[in-house]
């Protein structure tokens, strides 16, 4: 018990340190606070936020430290996401507590950011968010890092250390889970029952420390370790602890990627993964389950004057060793697999108009007890089309030049949901009934 108190104190200390570092950051500098810090416009770091350009990736790898702006405003920024969500067929009982079955307006998220450059080599991205659907305020994506450069023989090494709270939030390519397309998803439409552990399951529920190197502006290698927060710490930070299965010990995360930039082209190919031992629903009587996530990804960007094209894809294979869950009656089998595929293609004009089409697919072995679906399968798949208008990527209005907005219309079409295309819930609901139109405004200032 004493140790638990210390664990809580350590976790809380880390968070307070994060907030303290952010609050104490020197006012300098496409988060609007980064735009002020650098004196650059959002379009320098983003093709259409929040997809990063090659320069944006290096800004992040350099620890968010690049300066040069003349603003003396404090390093804070605000994000608002008002949304309208329509599903092909309403959700009986309401899309969420306090909302109707269909056609819901919501302030999906409201966030405050701080961070940026603290010293020449220390910087941060610190976000806290009010969830307007769950009516919950808590910490959100956080990445504090130290970065520096060193010469190794004839080679240049950019190296760093990252302290963060979400596996892949520290990544700089828009193919890994934390920053992949779709960049915004409706929270008032039905959510599939299954998902791999590396895809946001641990977001804000862990604290991770890692070291990375970027050799000769091309080869990226990272090794991190993640540990679950104590439940008391999670509650203090506003994290939803319902039905969570924490990591037992430390879960290693790895990332290797090669990027080549030539002329107007930038090509990346990589792999990433997470190995986690998990206490199912916090129960320890039967030991732990083991989850191994191995992903491969690729991204190609072509940026030429006022036009840009980006293709992103990833494939994740997750192996489940479910000995503990099976013994506890939480799974039908002792071994399952899940596979997740994403691919998307964007055309962006003048950093202002963005057209994106994407495919997502999740499938795996049948396990009715584990997934709770009618036919036992976890399969969900579909297509996403999105058009977005970003009028301020080259600078906001004169009274607040760091204002930015993304106004978008997104359509998600399911051909499978929770295991089937037709009657997936055994009560007559089809996957197409969950097709969703999301109209959103994503405002940053």
């Amino acid at each position: 018990m004493i140790l638990h108190s210390w664990r809580r104190a350590a976790a809380l200390g880390a968070v307070l340190l994060a907030i303290g570092l952010g609050a104490g950051a020197r006012p300098a500098a496409a988060l609007p606070l980064y735009a002020r810090q650098t004196g650059l416009v959002c379009a320098n770091c983003h093709t259409a936020f929040f997809e990063l350009t090659p320069f944006g990736r290096r800004f992040k790898l350099g620890g968010y430290t690049l300066g040069g702006g003349k603003s003396s405003l404090p390093p804070f920024a605000v994000m608002l996401q008002p949304t309208f969500t329509h599903t092909a067929k309403g959700q009986p009982g309401g899309a969420s507590p306090g909302f109707g079955p269909n056609d819901n307006f919501a302030l999906q998220e409201a966030s405050v950011f701080t961070g940026g450059r603290i010293t020449d080599h220390l910087g941060a991205f610190v976000q806290s968010t009010y969830d307007g659907v769950a009516h919950r305020f808590g910490w959100d994506n956080t990445d504090i890092r130290y970065a520096n450069t060193v010469k190794l023989g004839g080679h240049n090494l950019l190296w760093g250390v990252t302290l963060n709270n979400n596996p892949s939030v520290q990544d700089v390519w828009n193919t890994t889970p934390a920053w992949s397309f779709p960049f915004i998803s409706p929270t008032l439409s039905p959510t599939p029952a299954a998902g791999t552990f590396i895809e946001e399951t641990y977001a804000q529920r862990v604290l991770g420390l890692g070291a990375y190197g970027f050799l000769d502006d091309s080869l990226y290698v990272e090794l991190s370790g993640y540990r679950s927060l104590a439940k008391g710490t999670e509650l203090l930070l506003g994290v939803d602890t319902t039905d969570e299965s924490p990591i037992d010990g430390i879960a290693p995360y790895w990332r290797v990627a090669v990027e080549r930039d030539f002329g107007k082209n930038s090509l990346e190919i990589g792999t990433f993964g997470l190995e986690s031992n998990v206490r199912p629903l916090r129960m320890t009587a039967a030991g732990t389950d083991a989850f191994t996530d191995v992903g491969v990804d690729a991204q190609y960007q072509w940026i030429s004057g006022r036009q840009a094209v980006t293709f992103r894809t990833s494939w994740i294979h997750e192996d489940h060793d479910l000995a503990a869950s099976h013994a506890l009656g939480l799974a039908d089998r002792t071994h399952d697999t899940l596979r997740s595929f994403h691919a998307s293609l964007s055309y962006i004009f003048d950093n202002t108009w963005s057209l994106t089409g994407g495919r997502f697919s999740l499938f795996g072995t049948r396990d009715a007890t584990l997934y709770g679906t009618a036919n036992g399968k976890p399969d969900t798949g579909g297509w996403i089309a999105e058009i977005a208008y970003l009028p301020f990527m080259h600078g906001g209005p004169k009274f607040w030049p760091w204002f930015n907005a993304r106004i978008g219309l997104q359509y998600t079409r399911y051909d499978k949901f929770d295991g089937a295309g037709k009657n997936f819930d055994g009560a007559g609901r089809n996957a197409g009934d969950n097709n969703t139109i999301l109209l959103y405004a994503w405002i940053m200032f």
Binding site: I2, G39, S71, K264
Partner: protein
């Protein structure tokens, strides 16, 4: 819970580990605070070219450091060059 981990000795070790971590963090912050130049990015990452893009050239850019460097991009930089970060000197915010 693992009895060994919850023992008072383990708690003392945990406190010692925390103190060591705090000392390491202080050293890191100290090193960070004393470091000098900011990290610059490669020329390839900003599509640098030795020729201007119409009237846009490094010599009139807010980030240019005469006679042949840039505060953001690794050098050398030609005043007649151009890259995707071009910002007219008058617009730097």
């Amino acid at each position: 819970m693992n009895a060994k981990l919850s023992s008072p000795e383990a708690a003392r070790l945990s406190r010692r580990a925390l103190l060591q971590a705090a000392a390491a963090a202080a050293a890191l912050l100290g090193a960070a605070g004393s470091a000098a130049a900011q990290i610059k990015v490669s020329r390839a990452s900003v599509a640098y070219q030795d020729q201007p893009d119409g009237g846009r050239r490094c010599g009139i850019c807010a980030h240019f450091v005469p006679p042949g460097a840039c505060r953001i991009v690794q050098g050398p930089i030609s005043p007649q060059g151009y890259c995707t970060l071009f910002t007219p000197a008058s617009q730097n915010g």
